[in-house]
């Protein structure tokens, strides 16, 4: 919805602004105010009728007025000029609430508009009074031309008269009937004056006579309007449309325009825009500033950030020139910069609105003449920024485009990159000097077009001198020869004659660079089309620098059927771009540096990954756990607890150790792993002081001298059994807060699980060396079986026959593949 509103607003703005673009703007006058204005008079006239209580309950019009003041003040400050600002309200009457000058009294102006926060109770919205007040206000401002007067007029609705005894009404009508007064609005504003009117002329006629501009901000918050307001708006809209609408031929139309704001929240932007329009600035597509805009064109630039709390910077070639919160205004006092490109920097916010005052020159390049006999003659026009003057480099076609008319007909135009100028084609033959009109427009700018000064074009009996430009590489690497050509472009084509070009001696600004022409004496061709002379650039020594080649030429023309050449033009110079001399790249260095960069990127990421992996391999914080140990016995009945006494919470103890190592009862320890392997599994190893150990859950299967278990964990049970003493210990580690019964069940489950595991694995057991690669170095050490003979015989692989062993091996692997431990329920 917001987006649709933005599009509608922009469209409306375009419709309003474009008709204003009647006066051409060119030249390097350094002022931010409209052309010809020594200073600017702005009257801010704000609606204070009671309908604002519903259409703008949050008083956003005041915030908008602050934006307007800030916008005007910043621009005035940047350009060093003054703006006279009057602030007035209207409703049942119209009165001035403040008058000041910007930028020095910005705070006073901001303070003055605060009164409108409380002024929303007037029963009338009297447009006739408001406009008459503006007429009188501007009439009282001496010393400033009327074309420098701007009325910024905010209203939320329609002409409405509910309080008939308001004193101002009698000043323009004798009627005391509400309906009659409201119905007479159109006649009072546009004429002819109705019966009973007290005005000397219609309001629009008086405004046209006075000559000031009206910029109306019309808040049409239709969703919150009362039915009566809608009716009155419907009556008023046609009159406003005649006064400030699109039909400029309407006799009621005055200078200026109108924008609609469909919601109060957009008032700040609209006020900002009206401030810029008042200053004579035009909207510029903010996207143009992304890639850099030619600074030589920019006489003034004002941008608004969508984020009101954020710094906004205007930069030229990366150097901050202006900076401000939400707004930034750039208006160099000495006129546009000579060179560089303008960009705008914001943080998280986007550029919401951009306004600019651009200045450019268009000049004809070379001879302003055409050869009457030619089928086609060419005239070159260059657009330069006002900052760098007519001799500056042409503005690129990405920033401006031009259109040409020859004798009133549209003429073909093409961009010539080599000379950074535009070639206008004059179709021939012609018998009288053509009238050429060339205009340029700045891409993305809604301001007026730039007009080339009227230059009389001469009709000649011989063609103008051709243009010659270097076509080829502009970089010479080492002592290589860079081949290119000199392209001769006839200024008049297809006359049947012959064009000859004689080149002088090339002069280089660098001794090591030289230009060699393949045919240095003279080159003659038909003038039907462009032709080229092969040439080459070469260097005698390697260096990293820039050089400029200068090459003169003269031209002659031999008409068809004649043998006598005519000299055309004087001594001309080839358009030659700067040539870069670069040292050849050392292949070995390239490889070495590339390798270093490659390795650096690999090592950095590898190092980070290893570091992160090792951080993850740290044991969980021991303070989060509690542990208890339970004695076990190993006898003919198997592995079991010595007694079945229930565990008690007070028997649980804190874990001794840190995130590198836990020291548990019975000499059991759990240690973190440290690894260089960035893909290492997240696990830790546990060891017993003596005997063998098993854990539940576990990655290592069964008993071993070192077992691996996954981290992090909620609960772990270690079972340590000593074969010699036939006694063991179970240690259970649980999170703090876990009940003793649950821990007891975990021990029983672990002991039972280990017993079942042993019973079900006749070929593997605690006494077998661990061949699993995940078990680490310690796994290769054979350990003694802790079990009685009955159990040991079932787990001791060495006591099996080879046949049994083979069968068992094929049926069931000795070691299970590593797997994630089952999670306790």
């Amino acid at each position: 919805m917001k987006r649709i509103f933005s599009i509608v607003t922009l469209t409306v703005m375009a419709l309003v602004i474009l008709p204003l673009a009647q006066t051409g703007v060119s030249g390097a006058q350094s002022t931010s105010t409209p052309k010809g204005c020594p200073s600017l008079n702005v009257l801010l006239l704000v609606d204070q009728s009671s309908s604002l209580q519903t259409t703008d309950p949050k008083n956003l019009r005041v915030d908008g007025a602050e934006s307007l003041i800030k916008s005007l003040s910043n621009s005035a400050n940047a350009s060093g000029e003054k703006i006279n600002l009057g602030i007035a309200g209207f409703g049942e009457g119209a009165e001035l609430v403040g008058e000041t000058t910007l930028p020095e009294h910005q705070a006073d102006a901001t303070q003055a508009v605060q009164v409108f926060r409380d002024r929303d109770t007037d029963q009338n919205t009297d447009y006739v009074l408001a406009l008459n007040f503006a007429l009188q206000y501007f009439a009282d401002q001496p010393g400033v031309p009327a074309s420098c007067d701007r009325l910024v007029w905010f209203t939320d609705g329609a002409y409405s008269i509910d309080k008939l005894d308001a004193p101002g009404i009698a000043s323009y009508t004798t009627s005391r009937d509400k309906r009659t007064i409201q119905n007479q609005l159109g006649e009072q504003i546009c004429g002819p004056l109705p019966d009973g009117s007290q005005l000397g002329a219609s309001v629009s006629e008086s405004i046209r006579t006075a000559g000031f501009f009206i910029q109306m901000i019309d808040l049409r918050n239709e969703g919150s309007e009362a039915p009566q307001d809608r009716v009155e708006r419907a009556q008023t809209a046609p009159v406003i449309e005649r006064l400030l609408g699109e039909n400029r031929s309407d006799p009621c139309r005055v200078l200026g325009g109108r924008v609609e704001a469909s919601q109060a929240s957009s008032l700040a932007t609209e006020f900002f825009k009206q401030g810029q329009i008042a200053l004579g600035h035009y909207e510029l597509d903010c996207a143009q500033l992304n890639g850099g805009y030619p600074a030589s064109l920019v006489n003034a630039l004002a941008v608004k950030n969508s984020n009101a709390d954020e710094a906004t910077k205007i930069l030229i070639d990366g150097e901050v020139r202006e900076e401000g919160q939400e707004f930034a205004d750039y208006a160099p006092k000495s006129g546009p910069a000579k060179s560089g490109s303008v960009t705008v920097q914001t943080g998280s916010g986007q550029l919401e609105t951009c306004f600019a005052d651009l200045r450019a020159n268009i000049g004809i390049q070379g001879n302003a003449s055409v050869f009457g006999m030619a089928t086609r003659s060419f005239l070159s026009y260059k657009v330069t920024g006002a900052g760098d003057g007519p001799e500056g480099p042409g503005v690129a076609k990405t920033a401006v485009s031009i259109a040409a008319k020859v004798d009133g007909k549209t003429a073909p135009v093409e961009w010539d990159e080599a000379s950074r100028s535009w070639r206008v084609t004059v179709e021939g033959p012609v018998t009288s000097p053509p009238v050429v009109d060339v205009t340029a427009i700045a891409v993305g700018w809604q301001g007026p077009e730039f007009k080339a000064p009227a230059t009389p074009i001469q009709l000649r009996n011989e063609p103008p001198a051709p243009q010659v430009a270097w076509v080829g590489p502009t970089t010479v690497e080492g002592t290589e020869v860079a081949k290119g050509s000199l392209r001769v472009s006839p200024a008049a084509e297809d006359t049947g004659g012959t064009l000859c070009v004689t080149f002088g001696q090339p002069v280089s600004s660098n001794d090591t660079l030289s230009l060699t022409l393949s045919d240095p004496a003279e080159l003659c061709r038909s003038d039907k089309e462009e032709f080229e002379l092969p040439a080459s650039l070469s260097a005698t020594a390697t260096s990293n620098t820039t050089a400029q080649i200068s090459l003169s030429y003269t031209a002659t023309y031999t008409p068809e059927g004649s043998t006598t050449p005519i000299k055309i033009g004087g001594t001309e110079y080839v358009t030659f771009p700067p040539v870069s001399l670069v040292k050849p790249a050392d292949g070995g260095k390239i490889l070495l540096i590339s390798f270093v960069l490659w390795v650096a990127s690999m090592l950095l990421s590898y190092g980070l990954l290893v570091w992160l992996t090792n951080r993850q391999l740290r044991l969980p914080d021991p303070s989060l756990y509690r542990a208890i140990s339970v004695p076990l016995v190993l006898d003919d009945a198997g592995l079991r607890r010595v007694d079945d006494t229930p565990l008690r919470m007070e028997d649980f103890k804190a874990i001794s150790g840190d995130q590198s190592k836990y020291r548990l009862d019975g000499g059991i320890s759990m240690e973190r792993r440290r690894t260089w392997n960035p893909y290492a599994r997240l696990s830790a190893f546990s060891r017993p002081q003596s005997g063998v150990l098993a854990t539940q859950p576990s990655i290592t299967r069964g008993f071993d001298s070192r077992v691996e278990s996954a981290i992090p964990f909620d609960e772990t049970v270690w079972v340590n059994v000593n074969a010699a003493t036939k006694v063991g210990t179970a240690v259970v580690l649980v999170r703090r807060g876990v009940r003793a019964e649950a821990a007891s069940e975990s021990i029983d489950r672990a002991v039972l699980g280990l017993q079942r595991h042993l019973d079900s694995m006749p070929k593997s057991g605690v006494g077998e060396p661990d061949a699993s690669p995940q078990s680490g170095a310690g796994a290769s050490r054979p350990v003694e079986s802790p079990f009685p003979q009955r159990l040991a015989s079932s787990v001791d692989g060495e006591s099996d026959t080879s046949e049994q062993s083979q069968r068992s091996s094929s049926a069931e692997p000795k070691r299970a593949e590593p797997r994630l431990p089952p999670r306790p329920a």
């Binding site: 970089t475 690497e477 990293n544 870069s580 670069v582 040292k583 050849p584 790249a585 050392d586 292949g587 260095k589 390239i590 490889l591 070495l592 540096i593 590339s594 960069l597 490659w598 650096a600 990127s601 690999m602 950095l604 990421s605 590898y606 980070l608 990954l609 992160l612 992996t613 951080r615 993850q616 960035p678 893909y679 997240l682 996954a710 981290i711 992090p712 994630l820 999670r823």
Partner: protein, 103 residues
């Protein structure tokens, strides 16, 4: 998702910077191309560091109680995007090396 987003953004940024660098004929002169250097940094450093981060985050997720593999095979996407960014960044490094080797 944050490291994966960084990986993808690095890939896009490195590609854009390489395009700019190529347009400016980076490596053709002794001038160090900032876009090429940026492409190396973003593609080969930031992208791979983000991949390291992604891997550890993914390992943490795998060790959690519940791990679900998405349809899009995020680890594969992360690996592919990191490798692509790394290759592009390496080309940026090559352009930088070319410029330095001309001095």
């Amino acid at each position: 998702m944050v490291p994966l987003a960084i990986i993808l953004m690095s890939l896009i940024a490195a590609t854009a910077l390489i395009a700019i660098a190529s347009g400016d004929h980076a490596g053709g002169t002794a001038d160090l191309s900032i876009p090429a250097l940026g492409a190396w940094f973003v593609g080969s450093i930031v992208g791979l560091l983000a991949y390291s981060w992604f891997r550890t985050e993914n390992a943490k997720r795998r060790m959690s109680r519940v791990y679900s593999e998405t349809v899009f095979r995020l680890p594969l996407i992360a690996l592919g995007a990191s490798m692509a960014g790394w290759f592009i960044g390496s080309y940026g490094g090559f352009l930088v090396a070319q410029a330095v080797a001309r001095r």
